[in-house]
Amino acid sequence: MSEPVPEAGAGLGKTRERHAPPSENETHVVRSSTAFIVCMILLASFYIVMIVLMLLANVGYLAFSGKGLESLLAALRSAEVRYAISLSLISCSITTVLALWVSVPIGYLMSRFSFRGKAYIDAVLDIPIVLPPLVVGISLLMLFNVPPFNLLADWVVYEIPAVILAQFMVASAFAVRTMRVTFDQIPQRFEQVALTLGASRSQAFWTVVLPQTRRGLLAAATLAWARALGEFGPILVFAGATSHRTEVLPTTVFLEMQAGNLPGMLTVSIIMVVLAAVVLVITRLLGLRRLNA
């Protein structure tokens, strides 16, 4: 758009308008954004559609095989599956609480303090995320072979505590990442003001900082719970796959697969999907209600 020509010096302005060649800015044409947006949408929808199809295939197979309801009822009637569901629910909940207990202090310390060797500790915290799950299990097994851990081995290895410890080692790493980002996003200014008003560091943490982490805490808890629910490799190695003792839902899927029971395996998988979805929805609702309160 050309500027309106002012009254004064109008003649000069008009002359320029008539004779000056159009500048590069005036001839520059901006290309349409449609192709770019369409490409982005196609790539994004590929992944999203794959997730939905993957789940639908699971349900669809059971529905079309005509054995869906039957195998669901059979699974729910089975004492092994019922035990696996209870152990999964209980162990995942305990793991989540434990994961929050370590991830909050680690996230806070890593976010608020600079110290020598911080980069190395940061790398150590990523180890459970990048390590192959089986290796976590083997390493835990080895750990409980050496003193003083071997004193607890009878009580832990191949027992329920091993299930929780295996879940905890991996799930906590994800909770730690989430809490670190959460604390990073809360400016230190709030704590500083609290300190000037007479608070100790601990009072500033409990009264000013922690209440601001609600959303992050919920996200960390959901992530830890979901990771723990799906944990299989370390549990198989470190806790075994004994029915009515250390059998969690992923173990059931594995055992059903070994027995060649495809409908049973799919049914238990769907139970896990439903459990994960229920937890996700509950935490979202809780989070929204608290944030709106």
Binding site: P187, R189, F190, Q192, V193, A194, L195, T196, L197, G198, A199, S200, Q203, T207, V208, P211, Q212
Partner: protein
């Protein structure tokens, strides 16, 4: 009073060397300087939020250099106000008093007093996210003043306000100072604020603090500028 002597600080590439400054008891002092000259750093040092390399800070004749921020008897209003996002206004005003374990009745009465003084009685049950810039500034002032500090540190308290609110809060700061007789250190880059509010004005330039006479037409009462500093 505020007495800073031989203050040296270092943070990364930023350095302040041998800064000295004295603000007499009950005086409204404006510390001016360009952005990045270190005036906020000096304010934070007074609050105990920055480590010193050398130097001493005395508030009301008490050497507070080694004291924790909460033991210095200061009120601090940062530039972004930093109202606690999860507390209603009433809780913000009561925060310092609750930490001092005052009785409920004493807290309620002090909160009411602050709310009246700052004109925020109708905002007491609101969350900070719902306040306008001027209202938030009043709440931040109330939170800093609730525990009756001897020194009030204000970091650019008028910088983020629109023209009308600027004048309103400017007047309020003057009223609050007259009412409480608190010693104020107000950091700004605005000469206009210094003229409107400052009993004494210092300029921080090149790491050195000097007294400033703002010229004819300013509102600084003659003789209020400390000559014993």
């Amino acid at each position: 009073m505020i007495a800073i002597d031989g203050l040296s600080m270092s943070q990364g590439s930023f350095k302040l060397e041998n800064v000295s400054l004295t603000v007499p008891q009950g005086v409204y002092c404006v510390l001016m300087g360009r952005s990045g000259c270190g005036k906020t750093t000096i304010l934070e040092a007074i609050c105990g939020l920055r480590p010193l390399v050398r130097g001493t800070i005395c508030l009301n004749g008490r050497n507070v250099t080694e004291l924790k921020p909460g033991e210095r008897g200061i009120g601090y209003v940062p530039q972004d106000r930093a109202l606690f996002p999860t507390m209603i206004v009433r809780e913000q005003l009561a925060f310092a008093l609750v930490l001092r374990r005052q009785r409920q009745a004493a807290i309620a009465s002090r909160v009411d007093e602050m709310a009246q003084l700052l004109g925020i009685a109708h905002l007491l049950d609101r969350m900070p996210g719902t306040l306008s810039g001027g209202e938030a500034q009043r709440v931040a002032l109330g939170r800093a003043l609730a525990a009756n500090p001897s020194v009030l540190c204000l970091d650019e308290p008028l910088s983020a306000l629109d023209e009308d609110t600027h004048g309103e809060i400017c007047g309020l700061l003057g009223d609050v100072h007259r009412h409480t007789s608190v010693t104020v250190l107000h950091v700004t880059h605005s000469r206009r604020e210094a003229r409107q509010l400052g009993d004494c004005v210092f300029d921080l330039e090149g790491g050195a603090v000097r007294d400033v006479a703002l010229g004819a037409g300013d509102s600084i009462p003659p003789g209020a500028v400390p000559d014993d500093s």
